[in-house]
């Protein structure tokens, strides 16, 4: 079950948006800013690591404008954004369901060989002469079938390309490329 299906099934009163991030960092967002979700999840993961209290993996915050719940797990992250009077218990159940979803749920619409073409174009734009070699290595590492790519393999491929790009084009350009790749597979 993907993000939209889980949201529909859980029917959280006051829900404004939700997001799901897989282990490779691919973010799927429903009615919320994908970049805000990804940055927040990354921050929460870093803070959980720094504080280092085992099991303390969920943050909730409230303001006059709304509520956010965000849980990080080794397999990714999930969160929900609610109106100020939103149902927290129902949102917790939604987040629990999202983090238990299989990794492939993070990008259900990504299948299709044309997505490889898009990835190749983006990689070439940023990595120029290194693109084909980097692609070849990462496709092999992701055990990806180019004719029938699975969403989790695509996430692994794009994550691997972004990591490889760090050493070739530096962190800011690699991040930029990574964002384009994530969009291409979402």
């Amino acid at each position: 079950m993907g993000l939209s299906e889980t949201i529909a099934a859980k029917k959280v009163p006051g829900l404004k948006g939700a997001f799901l991030i897989d282990a490779a960092g691919a973010c799927q967002a429903h009615n919320c800013d994908q970049s805000a979700a990804a940055q927040s999840a990354e921050l929460a993961r870093q803070i959980a690591d720094i504080v280092g209290v085992t099991g303390l993996d969920t943050i909730w915050l409230s303001s006059d404008a709304g509520l956010i719940g965000l849980r990080v797990t080794p397999g990714g992250a999930a969160g929900a954004w609610l109106s100020p009077d939103g149902d927290v218990a129902a949102a917790k159940a939604l987040i629990d369901a999202l983090v238990k979803a299989p990794a492939s749920a993070a990008a259900p619409a990504a299948a299709g060989a044309d997505v490889i073409g898009q990835i190749r174009r983006i990689a070439t734009e940023y990595l120029t002469d290194f693109a084909e070699t980097a692609l070849m290595i990462q496709i092999k590492q992701a055990a990806l079938d180019e004719k029938n790519p699975k969403p989790d393999q695509l996430a692994k491929l794009t994550g691997g390309l972004e990591k490889a790009a760090l050493m070739i084009i530096g962190p800011s350009r690699a991040k930029e490329m990574g964002e384009k790749l994530k969009k291409a597979i979402s």
Binding site: L43, G52, W60, S62
Partner: protein, 100 residues
């Protein structure tokens, strides 16, 4: 300040200012690394709220399967409460705020 351990679900509390526990403010049982939890998670909450354009954070709860820490922001102070891990943080935070 009222004794917040009188609120059902609150096991202990302390007041923090500038990421430091105010002397003599702690009462009841506070769990592991409560200072780090206040210092890092409250700041993270502000950044997350800013990312989602939610404005000023009022309450923060950090939770795991067996632990719940509720933090209420009141001016330059943060009231940190170690709570029953099974409690629902939202009504509990509202009740604590009423007792402040």
């Amino acid at each position: 300040m009222n004794d917040l351990t009188a609120v059902k679900g609150v096991q202990g509390f302390a007041v923090f200012a500038n990421d430091t526990m105010v002397d003599g403010s702690a009462k009841g049982a506070l769990g592991d690394k409560i200072g780090e939890i206040e210092q890092f998670w409250v700041n993270a909450a502000s950044v997350i709220a800013n990312n989602f354009k939610l404005g000023q954070v009022k309450d923060v709860a950090v939770a795991g399967p067996d632990r719940l820490v509720v933090m209420l922001l009141a001016g330059d102070r943060t009231v940190v409460c170690e709570c029953d891990g099974k409690a629902n943080w939202k009504p509990l935070a509202a009740e604590i705020r009423r007792k402040l």
